[in-house]
């Protein structure tokens, strides 16, 4: 069985490597892609959209339809993860562990006992043994705002430098994940609840698709941002640049929310009470 699988993999890999000689060489100026499509983008994208980063202009403007469905694919992955993993949460019937912070004593409270919910001296901990790591918590709490600021910069500066909605959204989600890993799932959920993540995810996709619909209402093609010029109060070329920014914000929101939803569900096996 294993030898057969190895043979199949080796043969398929050999065929793929052999066929890759049929491609034009890397960076070949005479290849079909470099002769027909690329010159148009390189020459016209700055004049059409006033966006210096050609990759952003192609992704969000010329190929905006593709990017919209990429966002929907990611959103669908988040929805599928919820459907597969999410189980109803048990409330106040299970055994919980609390740590008395000043002394470091761990209390195990059986079901039916009184939980010290609002006390500042007690903090709830996960049922796997969790050490009290002040250095990790403090460091993560200090760097999380900078990560979030950098993510916003990546989204907003995607017109001029590498980056954009996807990368910025992922970094924004990673900041919440870092919080959830360093502290616990509950303190991350207090900042960004499950419901809020779902709302942000749907809102992000809605912003993207809604921009396209708004263009259609204003007598243009779907996702033709130049039609938004009268709404934004700028000329039609700048309107394409602003339209790209609007959809990038939508992509960032959707991706951030989906990454957080995936982590919440996977790390707690769908129960969303105790995380990693």
């Amino acid at each position: 069985m294993k030898a057969g699988a190895l043979a199949v993999v080796v043969i398929l890999g050999a065929v793929l490597i052999f066929c890759s000689h049929g491609f034009p060489p890397w960076g070949d100026p005479a290849s079909p892609a470099s002769r027909h499509v690329s010159p148009y983008y390189i020459e016209k994208s700055m004049r059409d959209t006033s966006v210096p980063n050609i990759v952003t202009a192609v992704l969000a403007d010329y190929r905006g339809y593709d990017t919209m469905f990429e966002t929907i694919v990611i959103f669908t992955a988040g929805i599928a993860c919820i459907f597969l993993l999410r189980t109803p949460q048990k409330t106040k019937t299970e055994t919980r562990l609390y740590r008395h912070v000043p002394t470091g004593i761990t209390l195990r409270i059986e079901k039916g006992g009184k939980f010290p919910e609002d006390s500042i001296d007690f903090e709830r901990i996960d049922s796997e043994w969790v050490p009290y790591d002040l250095i990790v918590k403090t460091t993560c709490r200090l760097i999380v705002p900078f990560i979030q600021l950098f993510a916003l910069y990546v989204i907003a500066h995607g017109h001029y430098s590498p980056g954009g909605g996807f990368q910025g959204g992922v970094i924004l989600g990673a900041a919440t994940l870092l919080l959830a890993v360093a502290f616990d799932l509950r303190s991350a959920k207090r900042r960004l609840s499950e419901k809020m993540a779902a709302i942000l995810g749907t809102l992000g996709v809605f912003i993207y698709a809604g921009t396209g619909i708004a263009c259609m209402i204003l007598d243009a093609n779907f996702l033709d941002y130049s039609a938004l010029a009268p709404l934004l109060g700028v000329d039609s070329i700048s309107a394409r640049s602003y339209g790209i920014l609007i959809v990038e914000v939508g992509v960032g929101m959707a991706v951030m929310a989906v990454m957080v939803m995936l982590y919440y569900n996977i790390s707690s096996a769908g129960k969303q009470d105790e995380g990693l």
Partner: protein, 81 residues
């Protein structure tokens, strides 16, 4: 340009890929896969695809490693085969 650096990174990518599928400990496999993503990110950056490199660094080396570690944490750490 600098084909020696590219060649060196390419060798590391192959070693990490083989290691990630052959190691028995799934947590190690997740870490190796993250390192593989980071080396791929360097390759993209050398080839001039900076946007792809950025995506690979944030998604491949960042988020997906965390999700793999979370999945290993909730299932089993040893692989059966």
């Amino acid at each position: 340009m600098f084909w020696q650096i590219e060649f060196f990174i390419f060798i590391i990518v192959i070693i990490l890929a083989v290691g990630a599928i052959s190691v028995k400990d799934l947590l190690s496999a997740a870490i190796l896969f993250g390192a593989y993503s980071f080396m791929m990110c360097l390759l993209w950056a050398i080839m001039g695809a900076v946007d792809v490199a950025f995506t690979e660094a944030s998604v491949g080396a960042g988020i997906s490693t965390v999700l793999f570690v979370a999945a290993v944490f909730r299932t089993s750490r040893r692989t059966k085969d």
